[in-house]
Amino acid sequence: MGAMNTAMHMSDGLVNAPTAAVFGLVAAAGLAIAASRARADLDERTAPMAGLVTAFVFAVQMINFPILPGASGHLLGGALVAILVGPWVGSLCIAIVLVVQALLFADGGLTALGTNITNMALVGTFTGYAIAWALRRFAARSRTGLLVTAFVAALVNTVVASLAFVLEYAVGGAGGAGLETVFALMVGLHVLVGIGEGIITAATVAAVAAVRPDLVYLLRGTRPALTLRTPGTGAAR
């Protein structure tokens, strides 16, 4: 009881068993590819960062912010992790969060784990990365460019992840509402959630870039325009 107030992800039973199974396979395949590709992005600097990004996403997902009277939203985190640690490592970060939430916090069903991982860890992260990658030169140019890139990538990642739920509901939804209604409500609400996601993502990315621009995956290989001189710490670098 009381689960409605704290649950953030799909419960069991919202889609039928075959659909849940199919997306379980999609999630498993996606994460297997991500794990093999993540190796190239992990070194002695980025591996500890990735572990903390995982914990940070868990923490921020707990903070539901109001979007309308009676409705809230929370960070999904796809664009955030994609910009900070890249899409392969990032999708694994989100997957860890979702698995821990489902197993320990009863948030998101076990049979719904495949759909939740597909929507947030895979679709959300890679959508966020695609937008951020397209804007990477703009992002590297100035602090404003980076803020705008992070905001837009996060807003789009939220809306597209919500569309992934609509797709799953269309394929094998358990019923209770018409598809057009679900589509309109999901997109409408997640544009609002996405604005919050965009603000949180932009603020976090800007904070990291101000201190350790070398730890921002998106800025690797771009001109180091954002390197800030911190008084007194120049030698430590």
């Binding site: 009881m1 009381g2 409605m4 107030n5 704290t6 953030m8 419960s11 069991d12 039973g13 919202l14 794990a35 993540a38 190796r39 190239a40 992990l42 070194d43 002695e44 600097r45 591996a47 500890p48 960062m49 572990g51 903390l52 990004v53 914990a55 940070f56 868990f58 923490a59 707990m62 903070i63 539901n64 109001p66 409705a71 809230s72 939203g73 929370h74 694994l92 860890i96 821990v100 320990l104 916090f105 009863a106 948030d107 998101g108 069903g109 076990l110 739920f165 939804g173 358990a174 019923g175 209770g176 509402a177 679900v182 999901m186 609400l189 959630v193 201190v211 350790r212 710490t233 670098r237």
Partner: protein, 124 residues
């Protein structure tokens, strides 16, 4: 990892702990975007047996989580009110530890050779 790197990572962990352990008390209790959609068409009323959904909505098909008996279920410790912060701190530590382990295992062996100056291979 040099002093600046360690300090940055410690600051990042502290931020997560403060958010999950303290800021979480300020979180909106209203249903999130997905829950708002799955509850569309129903009215929710609290009863002695739990929540009752009247009307027609997607959430009526939802089944209880298999882990509903977890001591951390619903972001509370042992079901006690006011323990959200503690549950959040535990969650941050568990996710940080799992992330640390997974990404350490996945790290390419021998990549310490291309470590930047000052970093020791295998030490992070």
């Amino acid at each position: 990892m040099n002093a600046l790197g360690s300090r940055f990572l410690l600051g990042f962990l502290l931020a997560a702990l403060v958010i999950a352990g303290g800021l979480s008390y300020l979180a909106s209790p209203d249903p999130d975007g997905l829950d708002s959609v799955t509850l569309h068409g129903c009215t929710v009323s609290g009863t002695a047996a739990g929540e009752q959904l009247d009307g027609t909505c997607i959430a009526q098909n939802a089944t209880e989580s298999h882990t509903a008996a977890s001591p951390l279920a619903d972001y509370a410790v042992g079901g006690r009110d006011g323990t959200t912060g503690l549950a959040g701190v535990i969650g941050v530590l568990v996710t940080a530890l799992l992330g640390r382990l997974l990404f350490r295992v996945l790290r390419r062996p021998g990549d310490g050779a291309r470590a930047p100056s000052g970093a020791e291979p295998g030490k992070d």
